[in-house]
Amino acid sequence: MFYIYCPYCAEYREEEEFHPKGQAHIARPLDPMATSDDAWGDYLFFRDNPRGVHHELWVHAVGCRKFFNVTRDTRTYAILETYRIGEQPSVTADSVSTGSAASTATLTGVQA
């Protein structure tokens, strides 16, 4: 059971208020007609599916109904940070593997 910090409500709420919506930061090709079948297939169907740090989209379905991002470890299920739409993650697979300021970034990320 997750206890998730909604960056809009600025509160921790139970997992059941939320729905996961898949990988975050996927941009729709700007000119679909000019996009190759390969690139379109990638956009629609191919996801990172990492064993480790993952950036994903969640929606606060029975709360403020806003979408936001979560950085989570898919092995331990630990939530490393949550952040608003339009923002970039401060914890990434690289920052975790090199250990660079990840723990402080986590804290500020979660509280922000």
């Binding site: 996961p20 599916n49 898919t74």
Partner: protein, 416 residues
């Protein structure tokens, strides 16, 4: 291989059952094999068995990082059926069903395949239209199926609440009498024993950590027990397939999710069949031991931890009690999770890859147990011929770029 029979049982009784042969050897890895199968679940073991039995290719290793059948094979709710909507999927699952029907004899191993029938319930008019369409499609494909009324459902499964009082009244169901359940461990063990007897090396506690390549062709695998050469490699690694594809330098359209199941305390026989409902989202059968075997839905998030969220278990039991109010006070005994590799169209990937000699058989997601013999059979054919078996061909990775998807979300649904 020592064959099992009534006679051998009597014979071994005389020596207090202490001299039975081991099921399989525990060999040291050879330097090189003609075919290496990565993943010792049911599908991988079936592939090795059919390679040896039907294609005479016996210089084969199955490499398993844990123990045989310890992945999703031993974690599933064992439902077997073939009532899929589209021709391609129906052909694949029905091919498996035909093999199931002779499997215990073929393997000389009791896989406890029990054709007790499968009900897929409909609770809305749209459910019923979908059920009618699917049953008609099945019958055109020569697969048994009937649309049944609530009265008939009551005869088949008396414990089910078919009354109009139910919160989601049951309007009807599809009924596949040839569907049922099998003992999942026995399936892995039976294929393993059969493959071992034909000369296949089963290498347990051996984890593949990378692929050896030469000029765009696979020539072997790296493992925690050293390198092992191979002319052909088939990966049958379920929830871990995306990770292995990355090691080989390409991506698969898979997402790995936790899927949970649970069993109750053992009860006297009460369920006759397998009951599944997409709408209230639960499915249930009773094992020969007496426990109710209950399947949940997937957790919507990605996870590799072989566990999911408690809320899913709670929703699942709500659904079960909705269908079977009589179970409201049954206690649950054990609960667990497996990692299932889901695809965008709820159909598997049985395919070549950008690396020559490297094949994948994965993406079986929440419902691949039922396909175990069929999947192994067509995958073995494909590895042996270096080209995809006609039943496997539509399940190529290319479909996610050409758009030729085989959308089985209706038939897969909650359903397994």
């Amino acid at each position: 291989m020592q064959r099992y029979s009534g006679f051998s049982l009597v014979k071994h009784a005389l020596s207090h059952h202490e001299n039975w042969q081991r099921h399989w050897r525990n060999p040291a890895p050879k330097k090189e094999y003609d075919v290496v199968i990565v993943g010792g679940g049911g599908h991988g073991l079936a592939t090795a068995y059919y390679l040896a039995k039907e294609h005479g290719i016996t210089n084969v290793a199955v490499i398993e990082k844990g123990w045989l059948g310890g992945g999703n094979t031993a974690r599933n709710t064992t439902i077997v059926r073939s009532n899929y909507l589209w021709d391609e999927a129906a052909a694949l699952y029905e091919h498996a069903m035909k093999l199931w029907e002779g499997l215990s004899q073929d393997l000389n191993y009791n896989v406890m395949f029990s054709q007790r029938g499968v009900l897929n319930l409909g609770h809305t008019l749209q459910d019923m239209r979908d059920i009618q369409r699917r049953v008609n499609a099945n019958r055109l494909n020569g697969i048994d199926g009937e649309v049944v009324t609530p009265e008939r459902i009551k005869e088949i499964e008396p414990a089910l609440d078919v009354s109009a009082r139910a919160r989601y009244p049951i309007l009807g169901a599809s009924w596949q009498p040839r569907g049922g359940v099998a003992r999942h461990d026995a399936v892995a063990w039976g294929f393993a024993r059969g493959a071992d007897a034909l000369g296949v090396d089963l290498l347990q506690q051996t984890e593949v950590t990378g692929f050896k390549m030469l000029d765009g062709k696979v020539v072997g695998v790296h493992t925690n027990r050293g390198d092992i050469g191979a002319k052909t490699v088939g990966c049958v690694t379920a929830g871990n397939s995306g990770t292995l594809a990355k090691m080989a330098g390409f991506q698969l359209p898979l997402e790995s999710h936790p899927l949970q199941a649970l069993v109750s305390e053992p009860l006297k026989p009460i369920l006759n069949t397998v009951t599944m409902s997409n709408h209230v989202h639960g499915y249930i059968s009773q094992s020969d031991k007496g426990d109710l075997v209950i399947g949940a839905g997937i957790d919507g998030y990605l996870g590799y931890g072989q566990r999911g969220s408690f809320s899913i278990v709670e929703h699942t039991l709500q659904a079960i009690v909705e269908m079977f109010p009589v179970f409201s006070r049954v206690r649950m005994n054990r609960q667990w999770g497996g990692i299932v590799d889901t695809t965008p169209d709820a159909c598997p990937i049985i395919s070549r890859t950008p690396v020559r000699g490297l094949y994948f058989n994965c993406g079986w997601g929440t419902g691949g147990f039922k396909a175990t013999p069929g999947s192994g059979n067509v995958f073995a054919w494909s590895l042996a011929h270096g080209q995809m078996h006609p039943i496997a061909a539509p399940f190529s990775i290319d479909r996610f770029r050409t758009g030729a998807l085989i959308d089985e979300h209706g038939a897969a649904g909650v359903a397994h």
